[in-house]
Symmetry: D2
Amino acid sequence: MSPFLLNILKLFSEKIMSQTTTYQEPLVSRYTSPEMQYLFSAEKKFTTWRKCWVALAEAQYELGLTDIVTPEMIAELKANVNNIDYDIAAQKEKEIRHDVMAHVYEYGLKCPTAAGIIHLGATSQFVVCNTDLIVQREGLLLAKKALLQVISNMAEFCDEHKDLATLGFTHYQPAQPTTVGKRNTLILQDLVMDLNYLDFLLDNIKARGAKGTVGTQATFLDLFKGDHAKVRALDELVAKKLGFSSTFDVTGQTYTRKHDMKLAETLAGIGSTAHKFAVDLRLLSNLKVQEEPFAKNQTGSSAMAYKRNPMRSERMTGLARKLMNLPQNFAATYANQWFERTLDDSAIRRMDIPQCFLLTDAILKLFINISSDMVVFPKQIEKHLRAELPFMSTEKILMEAVEKGENRQDMHELIKEHSLAAGKVVKEEGLDNDLLNRLAEDDRIPFDLDSLLAMITDYTQFTGRASAQTTDYLTEVINPLLQKNSEYMGEIDSSLSV
Amino acid sequence: MSPFLLNILKLFSEKIMSQTTTYQEPLVSRYTSPEMQYLFSAEKKFTTWRKCWVALAEAQYELGLTDIVTPEMIAELKANVNNIDYDIAAQKEKEIRHDVMAHVYEYGLKCPTAAGIIHLGATSQFVVCNTDLIVQREGLLLAKKALLQVISNMAEFCDEHKDLATLGFTHYQPAQPTTVGKRNTLILQDLVMDLNYLDFLLDNIKARGAKGTVGTQATFLDLFKGDHAKVRALDELVAKKLGFSSTFDVTGQTYTRKHDMKLAETLAGIGSTAHKFAVDLRLLSNLKVQEEPFAKNQTGSSAMAYKRNPMRSERMTGLARKLMNLPQNFAATYANQWFERTLDDSAIRRMDIPQCFLLTDAILKLFINISSDMVVFPKQIEKHLRAELPFMSTEKILMEAVEKGENRQDMHELIKEHSLAAGKVVKEEGLDNDLLNRLAEDDRIPFDLDSLLAMITDYTQFTGRASAQTTDYLTEVINPLLQKNSEYMGEIDSSLSV
Amino acid sequence: MSPFLLNILKLFSEKIMSQTTTYQEPLVSRYTSPEMQYLFSAEKKFTTWRKCWVALAEAQYELGLTDIVTPEMIAELKANVNNIDYDIAAQKEKEIRHDVMAHVYEYGLKCPTAAGIIHLGATSQFVVCNTDLIVQREGLLLAKKALLQVISNMAEFCDEHKDLATLGFTHYQPAQPTTVGKRNTLILQDLVMDLNYLDFLLDNIKARGAKGTVGTQATFLDLFKGDHAKVRALDELVAKKLGFSSTFDVTGQTYTRKHDMKLAETLAGIGSTAHKFAVDLRLLSNLKVQEEPFAKNQTGSSAMAYKRNPMRSERMTGLARKLMNLPQNFAATYANQWFERTLDDSAIRRMDIPQCFLLTDAILKLFINISSDMVVFPKQIEKHLRAELPFMSTEKILMEAVEKGENRQDMHELIKEHSLAAGKVVKEEGLDNDLLNRLAEDDRIPFDLDSLLAMITDYTQFTGRASAQTTDYLTEVINPLLQKNSEYMGEIDSSLSV
Amino acid sequence: MSPFLLNILKLFSEKIMSQTTTYQEPLVSRYTSPEMQYLFSAEKKFTTWRKCWVALAEAQYELGLTDIVTPEMIAELKANVNNIDYDIAAQKEKEIRHDVMAHVYEYGLKCPTAAGIIHLGATSQFVVCNTDLIVQREGLLLAKKALLQVISNMAEFCDEHKDLATLGFTHYQPAQPTTVGKRNTLILQDLVMDLNYLDFLLDNIKARGAKGTVGTQATFLDLFKGDHAKVRALDELVAKKLGFSSTFDVTGQTYTRKHDMKLAETLAGIGSTAHKFAVDLRLLSNLKVQEEPFAKNQTGSSAMAYKRNPMRSERMTGLARKLMNLPQNFAATYANQWFERTLDDSAIRRMDIPQCFLLTDAILKLFINISSDMVVFPKQIEKHLRAELPFMSTEKILMEAVEKGENRQDMHELIKEHSLAAGKVVKEEGLDNDLLNRLAEDDRIPFDLDSLLAMITDYTQFTGRASAQTTDYLTEVINPLLQKNSEYMGEIDSSLSV
């Protein structure tokens, strides 16, 4: 083999070897979509920087700096947006320790005509902040798409099981029956709240625009020879070219980090809903009444083939826990920025903004995966319900006894006494609930076993408006919402790699 | 003295003694307004419970349960909303360990006619959740009022100082001049973001309505003999009577705790802005250029009479730090609620919801106090600015030299060299910045000292659009906003007790 | 009644009335012990300040300042440690806005001879920091006492149930049997870790000593006319008199806030163990196999008399959640202290140090209460175990079949197939686990039902060393630990008021 | 080029391309040491798994399972510890979705003789937990080494500047002089506290040992035919072979996650000290009195060549902020583990344990870098000090005046009045402190300007025991500590790549 080839192979080997000898962030290697990963890649960042520079040059030209910026320069800049030599840029950065200037330099190499006007009048944060905001907007739209899919899946699930009576729990103790569909409208409503906050953020996301070193637009005012109107127009025009309808009214060197705090809170909101959902599902899985879908070729461990570990819900729980804790960092970063900007925001945002989005992505992917094919076991649900129904029907039995002329207070005492005894039998003797038998056998109570059983045969009577609420909610809230957002929806690959 | 009086005095003494022998929450004893404290008092809670019961009875009557609920009962209930004997209720609670039932009992004592229909068909959370939401809404309105006052104060401050040039800092190193007014528009903009989120929350706050034990409205459906329409109407009518335009579409036993999470985040947003503001002010105070107002009779310690410790800003910083950390608790509580409700939300909400509001109240009170009378020292500002201006003017000197025909690269090198030397003189010799002298003395540079000084005489030239941005922002954003919200504004007592 | 009496009654009424019209911190009014509350009372604080002043005067006298400090003065100071007129002090504080100086003044009124030497050479933080540390030490000892009681209770529980086989869960899915005692040694071991950290903290807690305004002891060096040895001795002697074996080697104005951070982490450790324990107990309560003690006169709601809501565990969960989040505040406060001290530590410490201790107190009180009388239902445990044992015994059946000469791979496939089918029957048909019947009926498997049942009759065989581990752990770790700490143990009132 | 080569190149290209099109964790690509990165690499993990399997086989052999485990097998296992084909393992994992079993398989391919006894009697967590603990121990030792270097650097710095008087600040307002060395002993003492906690953790870190699926050692008890003593011995022997002096006494499926919580807190402690140090340095940098070292070839931006942005301290601040927030996640994970283990710990630990260590590594690297060559500007320090000294000397002037026979109260009032006037001159007129002139000109005050100046000439008189404390602390605490730990120290590369 030629020495040249050998050298290339050696170089490649080293780069690849390093994948087993250094830490690999598991969010990337395991849990997230290529679309979201790409948003935080070098390529996305640096090509977006170039788009910012193109927008700036165009806007400067359009607003009259035609003696400095020419159509040829703009054309050259546009033609080279994706033409980046990363090694040259990296080399330059090492030398001058300034990433933006290194890329201005590399861009300039590709654009000899325009070299002198790249970044004209701008400060580093012109490309950095605007790119951050563009990436965030795209990330929010990806999250929105996935969130809508979860809402759609859950709505379908609610509709399908709106009439399926199940034990409602308070204190994780059986309380009163509800239905499987109704219970899940609670999650649905929380997801809609998440979506509302996400939309509120999307509605309010702005460009950083063209503001200068400390936000005074001084260099641009010089460029436009003191013409304030043109400098304002430049700010707005650049924003528009980058796809924003407005810019932050005022900035320091960067846009306000309060925005980041709100961003993190919005995404953490999604995490918290996923957490509640996943914990409930893990409990249901223990009760053997509801499960996450189980992959065809997936088996439990060989010794315990039957086991159905709710691993996706567990993973979702852990990822959500991390996501829910990230807003703290953003709050502290914002609250400790001094004056026009301090750089203690840099390293932490570099880690935490991607983490927020990647965690959201991983969580929603899991959420779609689970919600698309949840398994429900109606017979088990009924079994649990029947074991507790006698207790839950005591109010009804009491009322009917009173209607038959019995004394309410006496009946209440009797029923209570038998209830406690039946509860004791279940717990202390490990036997089935025998409350109805006890009541039937007590002569003071005016019902035989058949009458008592009849009272609870149709247990849907205990579920009140659960089914109707579900239908109302889907019809009046969810369906219109999905329709309104149909343009944001689309295919999502929710297959899990590990 | 009569034994009776002695006994009363003894009892009173014990109750008051306990104020020195048990822990007193400092938020109450030191920092907050009586209005906000009252919202979280026993009286507010229990009278609001009664208002919920009145609303329920009225709605039931209006929707046709006229055979059960009568106008007399309603009148009696209304007449006794404020007529509470707390000792009886406390005694009853101790006995049956159920606060709601204890108050149903005590209310019943006062309303013998209506006793049987108090709380009819309802579950404890009917009064608890609805009252929580009513209190929150009123707390948010108090916060909004105070927030608007801060915005108004800061707007006035920005306007007054919009032209006052000052050092802009990045990395807390002098960067480029801005103006005092412009700098403070950054805080103003953040406060407006806080207000937007507060308004978004207020727009979306809903009643819990009449939903039943696990949210199925089963008991109400029984009461209305299966008439779904009436049960829906009941839910909405109760909400309306309690001042809400809508209710949560679906609930478990309680309204979704995600709402609490959003509540806490919204208030923490205010805290974070206050934190940034306070830290900046503490730094400015060290620079002796800007200060919080200093009370007439306030002196520093006797030995250091001249000292002006920024104690209010420091307190604000600490209170804000605590407030900013509270959303975590709400997120964890929400995310760990199991099914229709678990009670691990109870003790923590009982502490943290008041804490959120009281901290916000204390912070805004401080913020109003400080912003209403901040002290600025223009001469000190100018002194700092003049010490750094030579450095900041190098770009301008370079440009003018080039216009005079000098070689840009040569000039750049010369100026850089002298800049570094001058920087050294300042730090290493503790002397004043002598850059202009150095440049004037260098024959290669085509300016004498007078020319150089002339270039920086009018240093407002370096502040770009700072003043104009301030005016634009106040005119286009703040003034309309204050006008639109004038109904929410009013007198606020921001005097500090300690 | 005399106008004088009327006035007193009016004053008293106002003070008491305020208890219903302002916020009352629920930690105090509901959950904590009087001992812990007292530690954070005004009386504790101000009498301890006086003890610090006594210690200082004594030490100054003993180290030779006999011309300034006299035995009479010391005697007078000692005699008035508890003789505080809070109203005078409060009045003075309002006037001069300085709490320490206000109490110097009030103490001086009571000690006319010593008035001039109270606080001699000291700065406010001399009393404030030293008092904080004394209170913390006493609070830690109270926590230690309670923690030891929990450990003792849990040890007894483990011992009692060390042989009681129960389902072990992973993923909250039945995994392999363990025993009730063994499971609870896990909590025991965590409690011991908490105790170790608590002891480590107690071993390292130090006085702030006598250090001066910025920690340089300048005023004391003046007092002792430049005698360094005496100033060092003063620092140590004061500490010794206040019960500490050492002082912080160096301080700024205050002792390092890193200590507070470690304090909060140590207490939060206890909270986290309580949280894990309480969540497990709430799950066990749902399974009806283990319960918190149920008060004699406690009933569930009237309609659901049988219900056993695990309210104490739920409360413990919520309180622990709050406690676990507090270290964040201390970390942020420490990390943002500037130079010798900034006052942003004041308000937040004033709230959060009491909260840490009061939450710990409330949690440990609940923990003692629950662990002293936990209810176990062996029959229910057995029922759950028997339902899953067939699955868990497949490994054993496989081995025995192989010993009988069957082919391992064939047997494995057969058993797996029947396992999956049996699992399906349970979930999809809501019936009992029929795996053993299926195996018995399959001719390819060389066992009849009786043989299969025999294999699982003695299910303790599946619990491995669970019981032995429990005994070992109790014998080798817990018992020696309790013995070693017997002096720290004592009666604790763990009755709950609400 | 041959098709084979082309294919390889294509494959390599894809792998490398992905480095620009997916997210790269900046902790790895920018801030951390190869040693720490390696600890969290695939190679470290999987070779350590194999060492666990070797230890298990050896221990089983030594404890008598010689009929199952042979010396040949052990030799084979040992020979192949580093002989891993990652692609085969990855392929197998994809198939069976079980990483441990995939590696058992791949190891078995390399060890045909031993294949059957790899992982004998063990559960996945045998290798996973023990490896985690081994990696943590090594990570802690790396952190300890770096921490000791920081302590050593800071000690040298303290010693060098122990006599250099400087303004001490409280409220970030000049309070009393201290010395540069003394101030930095505060950080030193905090670092020692961090080291103490780190050592405490290292002293208490244990192996997970050989415990089985739910911690009962059931399978091992079977293997050793009921011999409890041998199973205990196995647990301990394996631990010893892995370098631990003890094992956790009891475990569930995993070791207790409380340990992780303590681990995170310990490392966060280091972060918090770094945060305080870095913030102070950033403030000092603004005051132009102290700076982080400035790289030779590093320049500020071209327009502001003189600028010395404290970028390393700013980065340290941000990284520390993130590190300080991570313990929350571990607390929540631990507190929400159900029974013997739930898997919601997996994804979050996989991210957060590396993050804790990598952040600590990055922070300590920065800390070493900065502390090894900090720049101090004595002249600037003196300038600041002289500007404030007149205020600080008022106490001394007062005392000397009283000694001269003046009335204390009169003098106090006069001095206070002039102090306030002088303070006003500085702030309101931007002029220098003229207090001494004012006092000299006031005939009521018995000193002329020379006498007054003389009083403050030797300003070291105001620094009390600052220098002596520094010497004491270095001599009595730091030097012995460094000596005691000399074996843990060594060369550390603290050069920064970006």
